[in-house]
Subunit: 100 residues, 2 copies
């Protein structure tokens, strides 16, 4: 199992339109067949010192393995997402994890 978790910070954090455009861009990648599970998120209401709530939108993907994640990285729908949406974010943090 390969977990790919991305946290996007918006260039315009107060723009609901930009946030919506980013979420729509993420949704457009749903047909990528190598993806097993998708979760598009926003920060929960939980708010303790250890919790990072600085992002606007999260993108959690589960793949069967690294190879499928590699296919996703160069997939035309992923490339199109970066082309059409990268102007929306100021920062991206990615965590890639495999079974311990």
């Amino acid at each position: 199992m390969f977990i790919h978790h991305v946290f996007f910070t918006l260039k315009n954090p107060d723009s609901a339109a930009d946030k919506q455009a980013l979420i729509e861009g993420l949704n457009a990648m749903r047909p990528i067949k190598e993806i097993r599970t998708i979760h598009i998120g926003v920060p929960a209401s939980t708010d303790r010192e250890v919790i990072d709530r600085s992002y606007a939108v999260s993108w959690l993907l589960v793949f069967d393995n690294l190879e499928d994640q590699d296919v996703y990285q160069v997939h035309p729908l992923h490339k199109k997402f970066v082309e059409t949406c990268s102007h929306l974010w100021s920062k991206v943090v990615v965590y890639d994890s495999v079974n311990a």
Copy 2:
């Protein structure tokens, strides 16, 4: 859906024993019935500028909702984990996300 993703940095990053003890401590929480999905991870081999590989172990939980996550936070098995394992880590970063 409520996503709870924790990234642990070890006090002794080079200690395989400490890493194993942490993983065993996490595994001991598997019986908590409010948890829908568990993934215990380590950094993948992917290594781009945006990827944070600074953690030793990741702990991804999926709950049905915030209420179930709240039960987990105060569950005896979770409290026991913190008691027995918190000396192992120097830093914890948590991302809690709900459906966008």
